[in-house]
Symmetry: C2
Subunit: 366 residues, 2 copies
DNA sequence: ACGCTAATGGAAACCGTTGTCAGATTCACC
DNA sequence: GGTGAATCTGACAACGGTTTCCATTAGCGT
């Protein structure tokens, strides 16, 4: 792999000790407990180490003995491009990384391969705990994590007995959006959502698929929308919901196109993520629809770019989410009852939502 | 940490073997070499494992024995928020993660703590190799990585003897931007760049700091700009260069403000990243300057948002950068000469660059 | 000179696996 | 029934450290 060939067998703590004529204990102490040996000897040990090219105690061997890996594992959705393309997910990652950094432990991204049901990676990860973020609830890797005898925290996942959990008050957040739209007068709405299951479906969503969604966040949001709009007298069964497997602006745009082609009477497009909403905005522009005069568009998450363009959305503290999860995992080993932490969300009304356009039909016509 | 208290000592491969009345080898084989024992026995082993709550072979012990950790380490700049806030950096991360996933190995983010010179994290990381991305060349963690007896690949770093390296043809890329601007007629330009060293400086940059910059990419870009503009007859010493330690849109805006306040005659603001350029755009708008009629703004990297708004920038294949680095590290163990891979860049002329505004002074006045 | 204490270094057990290799068992077939 | 092949199994030696006692020595007061 492009490194100079190792000339001879790597030096080990034992060989170094032999070279020096001291015991392994002493060499180990030179590295880990400087106060346990004289400075003079320590200096000699370290210098000889340098001379022999000994890189210090082997991390794996050390981990085995101390029973601490110095890392936490992160299990993400099986599709990495989702995780990295969504600023909200990146925010969570950043928060988690910050918490890890504070604690001086590494963050181990577990390769949960999409195709093959390769749970081995979970078993192979030498970590002191796991954070599970937004994986489908029927993901075999998740099951594998739960089998490991290490503490675990889940983010944006359905509750699991005995497992710490952190997540936003999704239902309440969605309620705010729904109220906002209902209050503005919208009755003809359409929804664009992210993938609901591991099987691809880039099309309208059947009620069955909706209620059986394996991605907790998406399901929660849809359910809350259904509740809120039903309460406002809108027949939810008549509301078109369209799904996109991939999570890009372009997919949001194509979804909006499909949605508006089929349901031109819609006055508001509700997107379950800001990324999708950005796509919907692009499609609106392409069609010559003015936002919000002709069409209202709302998002979810409150990413920076959304804020920049004044998207009406629900902001959730993504950085906090990751940070809190990390702290929960790494925090004092108080083995009290499992904690559930709910993070606040906030409706941010921007420039992309307004009253519905005046319909062509008379008001009593609907 | 919120997990049910472990009732008794964890089961080990040995205790499982004892329970079953077989040897440890047999149990090990049940997990790792199914063909080495009868299906019946294997079934019995696995079932007993489940009954005893044995989670499978301990990953750390296995790593020690097999000498493979199944993970590669990633050393990032000491400032995580930079790494995660910059879409270009995230792209690299994603590419690397993809390569790791393909190979079925984990990606271990090393916590290179900013304040304390805590090199220990590098020593503690149980990994089979390292990728180093955009850290200052005097970073102690980098030195620590190079001491580890594992293969290493560096991205966007100055060359190191015997180490694989991948990076864009930065100098050429910058040349294209400079040519573009010179060709348009710009002679009064200003530069906004990212941090040049580990010490904070949110101000104009002295020539000494410029040439002594510890961040390779930034230094390369500045140097190339100097060469290109000098060649066009512009006195580089007279070109204001302003630096921002943090890498956010807001910082880009504040830098642009400071720059334009001090040098109102400037007709083009060259930013060494798209994020900073977005900030410069915002500041231009705030001032009522039309882009590009009143002011030209250029970026670097070619992030998605830049493309969306039509920023003139240089696109580099960030995803590829990470992917290639990963493949280099994980690729066939051909211990040939260290490889250096240069990735292509491409000038993308957008809607933010145009000829300089007509000056108030007559043309012979400058 | 003696005994006590503190400082320093060492012996040995242990962490939980995997891999090699030889021995044991089974089995088909002559 | 004997024989060789095929299939399993088990003993043992690593892998490279850390840690808990122990033993030794040095320092020091009396």
């Amino acid at each position: 792999m492009g490194r100079p060939i190792r000339t001879r067998r790597q030096a080990t703590l034992a060989s170094l000790a032999a070279e020096l004529g001291v015991s392994r204990t002493t060499v180990s102490n030179a590295y880990n407990r400087p106060d346990q040996l004289s400075p003079e000897l320590r200096r000699r040990v370290l210098e000889t180490a340098r001379r022999l090219g000994y890189p210090g105690p082997d991390p794996v061997a050390r981990s085995l003995r101390t029973r601490r890996a110095g890392a936490v594992g992160l299990l993400l959705t099986e599709n990495l491009s989702y995780a990295f393309r969504d600023p909200a997910a990146v925010g969570v990652l950043e928060g988690l990384a910050l918490a890890c950094e504070d604690a001086g432990v590494g963050l181990h991204l577990v390769p949960a391969s999409p195709g093959r049901e390769d749970v081995a990676a979970v078993h192979r990860a030498g970590v002191d705990g796991f954070v599970v973020y937004s994986v489908p609830d029927d993901d075999p890797s998740l099951a594998a994590v739960l089998e490991r005898p290490v503490p675990t925290v889940i983010i944006d996942q359905p509750s699991i007995e005995g497992i710490d959990r952190v997540g936003p008050d999704d239902a309440a957040a969605v309620g705010k959006i729904a109220e906002h739209l209902v209050g503005l007068g919208h009755r003809q709405v359409g929804v664009i959502c992210m993938r609901l299951a591991r099987e691809r479906n880039d099309d309208f969503v059947s009620p069955a698929r909706q209620s059986g969604a394996h991605f907790h966040v998406q399901r929660t949001r849809l359910e809350a929308l259904a509740v809120a709009f039903s309460a406002a007298g809108v027949d939810w069964a008549g509301v078109p919901v369209i799904e996109r497997f991939d999570h890009t602006v372009d997919d949001g745009a194509s979804a909006a196109r499909q949605l508006l082609d089929a349901y031109p009477q819609i006055t508001a497009v509700i997107c379950t993520s800001d990324i999708l909403a950005l796509g919907a905005m692009a499609e609106a522009e392409r069609r010559g629809l003015r936002v919000p005069q002709d069409l209202t568009v709302t998002g979810f998450d409150g990413i920076a770019e959304a804020e920049r363009i004044g998207l009406t959305t629900v902001h959730q503290p993504v950085l906090e989410k990751g940070k809190v999860a990390g702290r929960l995992l790494l925090g004092s080993a108080e083995r009290s009852a499992p904690k559930v932490i709910t993070l606040p969300t906030e409706l941010r009304v921007g420039r992309t939502s307004g009253p519905p356009r005046t319909v062509e039909e008379p008001w009593f016509g609907g």
